[in-house]
Subunit: 344 residues, 2 copies
Amino acid sequence: MSRAAKIEDVASRAGVSVATVSRALRGLPHVSAATREKVLRAAEELDYRPNPHAARLAAGRSGTVGVAVPVLNSWFYANVLAGVEAVLAEEALDMHVIVVDGPDATERFIAGLPALSKRVDGLVLCDLFMPDQLWEDLAGGPVPVATVGVDTGLFDSVTIDNVAAAEAAVGHLLDLGHTRIGLIGAGPDGATDNESAALRRRGTIAALGRRGLDLPADLDVAGSFSVAGGREAMLELIGRGAPTAVFCISDEMAIGAMWAAEEAGLRVPEDLAVVGFDDQPVAEAVGLTTVRQPVSIMAARAAHLVLARLDGDDGPVQRHVMPTLLQKRKSTDFRHLTPVHAHS
Amino acid sequence: MSRAAKIEDVASRAGVSVATVSRALRGLPHVSAATREKVLRAAEELDYRPNPHAARLAAGRSGTVGVAVPVLNSWFYANVLAGVEAVLAEEALDMHVIVVDGPDATERFIAGLPALSKRVDGLVLCDLFMPDQLWEDLAGGPVPVATVGVDTGLFDSVTIDNVAAAEAAVGHLLDLGHTRIGLIGAGPDGATDNESAALRRRGTIAALGRRGLDLPADLDVAGSFSVAGGREAMLELIGRGAPTAVFCISDEMAIGAMWAAEEAGLRVPEDLAVVGFDDQPVAEAVGLTTVRQPVSIMAARAAHLVLARLDGDDGPVQRHVMPTLLQKRKSTDFRHLTPVHAHS
DNA sequence: CTGAAAGCGCTTACAG
DNA sequence: CTGAAAGCGCTTACAG
């Protein structure tokens, strides 16, 4: 437990210069096999660990990628982090997590961007919403960025076709004969503002429109992206005269809606069909029809995109649109009429 | 977008030395109000942002706290991160996330500890299991540590009384008249090894023992901490002749167990009572009786404990045991016999 | 209260 | 292939 070895100690022990130690340890070329061997042995013997701050200062690189998410404790963003982390761990890069929840935090994030760009080499920004001007400023800056869930056209992005996915979901309900279809979304009226929410709402309206229907104001509610948010929105809907089907823009919300239905004595799917969004594991367990999206894969791809930029890739902006899949389950299945999950 | 200002630029613009700029900007004493004012203005005008790597190298502090968790994409650990992050954000500290999943990753974590201690000022270790010798080595090291979910006696810790919590859960089932009670746990036979799992198993056995019952081998199964893990374990239990009640050591597992029961045509709670652990929001929605534990609060407290150590607190090791609460819901409620959540 | 100077521990041209 | 030296941008005694 003596004082930690520094590069100089390794150098003198190996009988070479610190420059050579630096090269040898990082696997750079122009080091003879014999010298490299000597250096590695010396480093090993001294249990040498380079000081990352010194290395970062000298090299001008931080070995770190930042990931910004609106919240940490949701299934979606937890999987985003997991996807990014897995990729970074492979490359021995650090992950710097930034929580940007709401307008104030966005202000702070923006104000801190110049400082941030000194401590990360790249950035994965997830569901972050800023004025166009700021995106352009960012694009003018030095750090490569990939966005997930939002496509600015300025950066590599990984998204899904939210409009199409919502159309499929609502189309499914229409195919089943529903005409009074509610939407539990998010946005200005709900809690978190969110581009995906807006697009899924658009898809809902498009699907209805194709059948000559509209989305009446009393069936168009918004809540927070949570079980409680979905429950409250559904109770609101029920208070206004329940629809026969509801499309919720997240699984948590859908599960909250199912809960509210139960409280109101409505059976799912007989009295109320429910569709969610995400397909988290719990969705399958409770028989929730939902739109599957490959969350951690999307995040991993975003991470790879910024790594490629760090490796010098200067090709055109890549805008990846990942596939989604409507998973049909019991929450919309009229043929299956025996009670399931009767945990009452 | 000219080259970023450095401290020297601020110094010359303010007409003072860099030492004074450094002091003024960090709010240190021994700077006259007038000088501080000048410096702040100059920094503002130049949009100066200190280079964190330089500051960390010079100061020997990293401004970062590391958090190690076994996985990222579970409700429990997502809330751990959220709890820690909230505390660190207040103090303007960075969070360094480390995923330590399984034995290999633990090896790597241990091997990387000397390097890690250079890049974090403190560490929150969550559900990490290492040989005693390594804990002692860690305790001899320079970085303050707080553990959550495990109590080594060597570091500040935040835990719950897992044994008592499990006893309460199983005691509840016993009070309801159940005698054939299964346990869905984790451990050597299941996937993730976990001290909490072992303690909850012990509590289960204690509760049964108090009534003169034991835990027969065929009712003692283990799975991974997931919906799928719970489902598989329950199917196994059903194959062996289902118990009338089951205690699952996580909510995800309990929801998986309910799913399996449904698949097998068993009603919850009439044919099978189910108790979970955690009380995540979905648990309430599906009417799951479960043990509530204050996850993000525990994590936040752990973060505060390491921050206090960083502030020089050298008092005795603090071992916090947080309260838990058995939330009784429909999944164990025999009186409530109308089907709920009949999303079939 | 303020400044000159050393030092933090690396990396990187530049020579050789 | 290897080394001497400058430099990365701060902080911190030490003087004054």
